[in-house]
């Protein structure tokens, strides 16, 4: 075991939200954190583009938000704990987000979860 994790063998399909990701995703995560507040959620729904501009999102982040693409948000520095608040605006739960990221139907994703209990 080493003290510093930068050179660990990557875990496929897994993203450590480290300092590098935190720098890259700050604006996106800050916007999603604002969705704890119902007025902010309403303001976003009313004019998404204006809200993204207010928080200073870059083009990559805006595109990911526009397309509701969770993997693209993660690549743009998003942290799942804040992204979940964005997903909440659209009533998406973590199983629906999981299905989207793994390219599975919701039913197949649920079955996969269940099968791991066998």
């Amino acid at each position: 075991m080493s003290l510093i994790t930068h050179h660990e063998v990557p875990i496929p399909g897994t993203y450590m939200f480290d300092g590098r990701a935190a720098m890259k995703g700050y604006a996106l995560n800050k916007m999603c954190y604002s969705f704890n507040n119902a007025e902010n959620r309403a303001e976003f729904k009313n004019d998404e583009d204006a809200y993204c501009t207010k928080y200073g999102l870059n083009d990559e982040q805006r595109k990911a938000i526009h397309e509701r693409n969770v993997l693209a948000m993660i690549h743009a520095g998003g942290c799942i704990y804040y992204l979940a608040k964005f997903a909440g605006i659209f009533g998406l739960n973590v199983q629906e987000i999981g299905a989207q990221q793994t390219g599975m139907t919701l039913e197949a994703f649920r079955q996969k979860l269940k099968d791991q209990g066998e």
Partner: protein, 282 residues
Amino acid sequence: MARVVGGLTTSHIPAIGNAVPREKELANDPYWKPFFAAYPPARAWLQKMNPDVAVVIYNDHGLNFFLDKMPTFAIGAAARYENADEGWGIPKTPPYQGDPELSWHIIESLVADEFDITSCQEMLVDHGFTVPMSLFWPGNSYGGIKTVPVCINTVQHPLPSPLRCFKLGQAIGRAIESYPKDLKVVVLGTGGMSHQLDGERAGFINKKFDLLCLDKLVNEPEFLTKYSIHELVREAGAQGAEFILWLAMRGVLHGHVTKIHSSYHIAVSNTATGLLVLENAA
């Protein structure tokens, strides 16, 4: 002197926060039945022990803390803690009573013990704290219990190692047992077990590893402190790293404990759920 009577660990999945007010009507629901059926023995044990204080070791998921300031170890020192809107519609729970005098004693003792703590005189508590309180005190009947929230960072890597969290728990245990008031204290460790919400590996669950953790945590927690965070993420999933909160709970207890009850179920939401009740050696 204050005494740690035992500890409980439970998953804190937000979906449970929605289900728990409807526990009675879900008693025969095929999805929820195996989950809720695990809790009556834990509640019975708590009733028997009748604790005065619950020290709740949990993680904040972006309600109280944002990335602008992210403490590794934060401890509440307020007379009262509130829950608030987390953005996805779990019902808000009634407020929690604090014990600022005990909180400050623990903070002072931890800093003297070389743990650098962020003290919080205002602190919102999220589902990591509230869901276990609702599960263990049905109908949110926790009004008579004082609480001390202990929040460990699991959001922003680097996270504190399993060993560090276990040692933090040991230091909390020493702090509590040097408190001059005659109090019975129970300690909660929340979160887990294996789960991953993000990335192409979303939906990952590792039953074999979870069962190993449930077993070793009772009598051989040192075995689990040998994992790095990276190894824990590999074995338990990105959010399965919340297991450090369970290890911190175990650190608070003495070396010898009695296992009162345990349960394991796959899955609620994306998560393997686990429950463990440990009584501390006198």
